[in-house]
């Protein structure tokens, strides 16, 4: 019996250890990123090709699902003291406060072309390298607006009108950065009880509060909703993909629009050699290179952070609404939001 138990223990331990592989290739730069940076024809693919050509080192992506999960992964790695990647790509301004303690300081280093970036995207002078940004906005389906006799909203409070019930899709601010952007936007417009009442009423209005942008946009494209909370640059995407009759348009509100700045950073404690530090910095520098910044608009459907980059034609009609400032603190707001929408 004793042998039986010992053998069982050995088998289970072996099976568990198999799930715990580690790679220590010194010529490899590991980049932690999210879904949308990967795949055929993606920005990630172009970055890998350029990086490997320029440095001779190898680049491997670790996919973490979405941006928030990526930070969770960094937190778990830090807790265990085992960094699984050297660079994190795809952080945004809303996640930076959480991610900053887990990333490496640049000290006296600055990437080339830092000064060519727009000032409002530099949310931190140390550690966060911005590479693209966009403005959050409602995308409207003009065919559905006409079918349901709806006028595009002018302000956030218009969504509370009875005719908008079940006609728009938003994202959950706990799990989606556009969702968090929308919460920020309403916070800038409504104060105190007005804000909580707005959300209580809004929770009766939406078609769904999707966990992420892709789900929300899917509902919109499936013609279940006439409005979806997205980016102004989504309009450029439709224009580039044959929507010449402007069926899908970004709605410019009279209220301010929040923006999202995406960036990359070096993971604290991940670099074992100076060569790895050099590669990590070269990777960050590459993000601001002319080639990548030029490719960004029609790969990521975001604006490049460099002001000297010419935008493609599909971006010419994208509206420019009033913007909200980028630096803010969301923790308390998210907790309050959960109380407002609880049943």
């Amino acid at each position: 019996m004793r042998h039986f138990i010992i053998n069982s223990l050995i088998i289970f331990s072996t099976v568990f250890v198999v799930g715990c592989k580690k790679s220590t290739d010194p010529t490899l730069l590991k980049v932690l990123t999210h879904d949308s940076m990967l795949g055929e024809g993606s920005l990630g693919e172009l970055l890998k090709k350029e990086f490997e050509t320029q440095t001779g080192a190898k680049l491997e992506y670790l996919n973490s699902g979405d941006a928030a999960q990526m930070v969770t992964r960094l937190e778990l790695d830090a807790k265990r003291g085992q960094a699984s990647a050297h660079v994190v790509l795809g952080l945004d301004d809303s996640l930076w406060a959480r991610a900053k303690p887990l990333t490496e300081s640049w000290q006296d280093w600055k990437p080339d072309q830092w000064n060519a970036t727009r000032e409002f995207v530099r949310i931190d002078e140390d550690g966060f390298l911005p590479y693209d940004y966009s403005v959050f906005a409602f995308m409207a389906d003009r065919t559905l607006l006409k079918k349901w006799n709806l006028e595009s909203p002018e302000r956030y409070k218009d969504l509370l009108r009875p005719e908008w019930k079940g006609r728009f899709v938003l994202e959950d601010p706990r799990t989606s950065t556009p969702g968090l952007g929308f919460l920020r936007a309403t916070h800038s417009v409504f104060q105190g009880e007005e804000l909580s009442n707005f959300w209580k009423s809004l929770s009766e209005q939406w078609w769904a509060l999707s966990p992420g942008w892709s789900a929300a946009y899917g509902i919109f494209l499936k013609e279940q909703a006439a409005l979806v909370w997205s980016y102004t640059t989504s309009e450029a995407y439709h224009r580039a993909h044959g929507d010449t009759k402007k069926r899908y348009v970004a709605v410019k509100l009279k209220d301010p629009h929040p923006i999202q700045v995406e960036g990359a950073a070096i993971v604290k404690g991940s670099l074992q050699t100076e060569a790895q530090r050099k590669w990590a910095r070269e990777f960050l520098t590459l993000l601001l290179s002319e080639k990548i910044q030029n490719a960004l608009p029609e790969k990521n459907w975001m604006f490049p952070v460099r002001g000297d980059v010419k935008l493609p034609e599909s971006f010419q009609d994208v509206p420019s609404p009033t913007l909200l400032p980028t630096k803010w603190q969301e923790d308390a707001l998210l907790n309050d939001w959960q109380k407002w929408i609880a049943k």
């Binding site: 019996m1 039986f4 138990i5 069982s8 289970f12 099976v15 568990f16 198999v18 799930g19 715990c20 879904d35 670790l62 996919n63 973490s64 699902g65 928030a68 999960q69 930070v71 969770t72 992964r73 937190e75 778990l76 790695d77 807790k79 265990r80 699984s84 959480r98 019930k165 079940g166 959950d172 706990r174 799990t175 989606s176 929770s203 939406w206 078609w207 769904a208 509060l209 999707s210 966990p211 992420g212 892709s214 789900a215 899917g218 509902i219 494209l221 499936k222 013609e223 279940q224 959960q338 109380k339 929408i341 609880a342 049943k343």
Partner: protein, 525 residues
């Protein structure tokens, strides 16, 4: 081997099997639960959180309403079956179909209904209403099966005697029929309540997000969606355990002791005076049963067309998740059946330790895989990165989830009326293996095949365990399908649903060809 040596050998082997099962359960059920219970202060701190209170309200409301409506619906079907003079076998076959339908396929069907209604101007949208509707429609056949089995055990002679003595229809129903069906009624009610409390994929995709979020969804969101919030996840998990454990403590011992076997049941004789319109009731029964069972099949099988028109997609996007699912489901089936077989082997001998096997083996059925998964996460995340993908944990959680079902059906197979045959073979000099082979193997083989096929099918569509321990290189078909559904890439979800159903059906057809009876005892031919 001498008889005495043989007896000692088997006694030791049974003890060994019992200890192995208890050791396994102690490590993978009690240790994670114990780890969770160490966090009780989180429950106290978290219970006043409005989001937690909201999740408790939504969980309880949907589970209570769904289970009540399901059992009432099941009772109506049972009554229809009593009035029908024919078709009961066909109806029971239809009721067993949802057993083999992966939950995700059912969810997919209801999403299509919402879109369909919306296109016709009904302004339908995901909500609590759709969560309850889908739960009820999915569980009515299950309730009907349990209740009909109970109804079939009622002695027709007793009923006939009461009728002769002048008992009216109401008195018969109240004093004879329902009073004997009452335990089954409450067992069905409680079991469906538990399943609805632990429901994951259905609430995730049909609820439309907050405020329609349950405790089960809360665990998942606190762990794998957005910011990692371990305290909140623990609060959700412990509260869910409390809400499930109370009724679960009532139901589990009953489920194992009570034998709802068609083989023991008799054909229901129509009550005198109720024979009229039997055919009409029969047709109505079949119509409702088909309505509750077949649409899932038709909707999902329509995706087969993409296998031919989109063969590139099939190889590039569908093949890998399918192969991963086959691997995980096969492993789950093997682990579950092995544990159940060892448990039943141990249970053949009455002892205190074996009573523990019976009780502990039934316990995982009352714990949500997400709760158990959270315990495993807390126990092991310092050593194993859950974000790297842990297939062993996925298999473990799924195996434990299906263990009570496997244990119950194999136990029933072992207890069928073959004791005399086994005893005779032993007296005639057969060793226990030979005696088992000639007396019990036929019944065991059927149960192993059917139970294995059903566990394989259910694992194919399982989402909860998978959602905790997946990684981007370990995305099985269920998760990939839910992502496609989440992104409303419907033709891809269509193809995934078809693939799932094809594998489920293949398993069931193989089982039906090789086995001679179903685990719930309905014999072929």
């Amino acid at each position: 081997m001498r008889l005495q040596d043989e007896a000692i050998f088997f006694e030791r082997a049974r003890k060994g099997a019992a200890l192995f099962v208890l050791f396994f359960l102690a490590i993978f059920v009690f240790a994670p639960l114990g780890r969770l219970l160490r966090e009780t202060e989180e429950v106290i701190a978290g219970i006043l959180d409005p989001q937690v209170l909201s999740a408790i309200r939504v969980s309880l409301f949907q589970a209570v309403v769904s289970s009540t409506l399901s059992v009432v619906g099941g009772l109506i079907l049972t009554l229809l079956l009593t009035r029908a003079r024919t078709y009961e076998k066909f109806a029971s076959l239809l009721w067993s179909i949802p057993f083999s339908i992966p939950t995700l396929v059912a969810v997919y069907f209801w999403l299509q209904i919402i879109f369909f209604l919306n296109e016709f101007g009904f302004s339908a949208r995901p909500s609590l209403f759709w969560i309850i509707t889908a739960h009820v429609a999915f569980n009515i056949p299950f309730a009907a099966l349990l209740l009909t089995q109970a109804r079939m055990k009622i002695s027709e002679t007793e009923l006939e005697a009461a009728r002769t003595l002048g008992a009216g229809r109401w008195v018969l129903w109240k004093s004879f029929i329902f009073s004997q069906m009452r335990p089954a009624f409450f067992i069905a009610l409680l079991q469906i309540y538990m399943m609805c409390m632990m429901s994951f994929a259905l609430v995730l995709l049909l609820g439309g997000g907050p405020p329609n979020e349950t405790l089960e969804l809360g665990i998942y969101k606190a762990l794998r969606a957005g910011q990692l919030d371990m305290d909140r996840a623990v609060a959700f998990a412990l509260l869910q355990m409390i809400l499930i454990a109370i009724p679960g403590a009532f139901i589990m011992p009953h489920l194992l002791k009570k034998s709802f076997s068609w083989s023991q049941a008799k054909r229901i004789l129509p009550i005198e005076g109720e024979k009229r319109h039997g055919k009409i009731f029969g047709m109505l029964l079949i119509f409702i049963s088909a309505l509750l069972s077949l649409p899932y099949l038709f909707t999902s099988l329509s995706g087969i067309r993409y296998f031919f028109s989109e063969s590139e997609f099939l190889f590039r996007e569908l093949l890998r998740p399918t192969l991963i699912s086959i691997g995980l489901s096969t492993a789950t089936m093997v682990v579950s059946l092995t544990l159940a077989t060892l448990s039943v082997f141990a249970l053949q001998q009455r002892s205190k330790i074996n009573q523990w096997v019976m009780t502990w083996g039934a316990l995982p059925g009352a714990i949500s895989p997400l709760t158990l998964g959270l315990g495993l996460w807390l126990l092991t995340s310092d050593f194993f990165d859950p974000f790297l993908g842990q297939p062993v944990f996925i298999v473990l959680l799924m195996s434990l989830q299906f263990l009570p079902l496997a244990l119950r059906w194999l136990w029933e197979a072992d207890q069928r009326d073959t004791k005399n045959l086994y005893g005779t073979a032993r007296v005639l000099g057969a060793n226990p293996f030979q005696a088992f082979w000639v007396s019990k193997w036929i019944s065991w083989r059927s149960s192993l095949l059917w139970t294995g096929a059903l566990i394989f099918s259910a694992s194919f569509g399982e989402l909860a365990a998978v959602s905790l321990f997946y990684s981007e290189s370990l995305v099985p078909l269920s998760l990939q399908m839910s992502r496609w559904m989440g992104r409303y890439a419907f033709w891809k979800a269509d193809a995934a649903a078809a693939m799932m159903i094809l594998f489920s059906l293949a398993g069931l057809i193989a089982a039906s060809r090789l086995a001679k009876s179903q685990p719930w005892g309905w014999r072929r031919g």
